[in-house]
Symmetry: C2
Subunit: 92 residues, 2 copies
């Protein structure tokens, strides 16, 4: 059976960003309950807030200059793991 | 640099156990912020609720017949990744 994709969220512990990382993890696991193999929460430091699908970086707070909305993360994850899926009115 | 340990929590999506799995993940990441490499949330089915440290199963709802308290999970994780650590009054 083909391995389902993995998402990882690396967050800065010094900045106390665990809660928003865990919130986004739950949003992704709710929306992509069937498609995702796992979502991993990874403590980091130095202002890091990065989301990866497998080894591909799909969001970096440093590059984007801000945190993502849940909708943005879901769209970027959807584009990589289930391109045909329609995310419905709230996350289109 | 030696790889930090990984904890995974596999939970039943049919039973709606994402929230308690995410809660325990945040408890572990708060208590073991420096010691853990990651905590992975893994959707499953059929009443599964299992916690592993690396490949070692440290809690199985089916075996224990119930869910763990946060204190119990922390003690079992501590025993494997930081045996010398004192968990403080609430999680002793």
């Amino acid at each position: 059976m083909e391995q389902k994709p993995r998402v990882s969220i690396t967050y800065c512990t010094q900045c106390r960003w665990l809660l928003r990382a865990a919130w986004l993890a739950q949003e992704l696991l709710t929306t992509f309950e069937q498609e995702l193999g796992e979502v991993a929460l990874r403590p980091g430091t130095g202002g890091v807030f990065e989301i990866q699908v497998g080894d591909e970086l799909i969001w970096s707070r440093k590059q984007e200059g801000r945190f993502p909305e849940a909708k943005e993360v879901k769209q970027r994850v959807r584009d990589r793991i289930a391109p045909e899926r329609n995310l419905g009115h709230s996350d289109r």
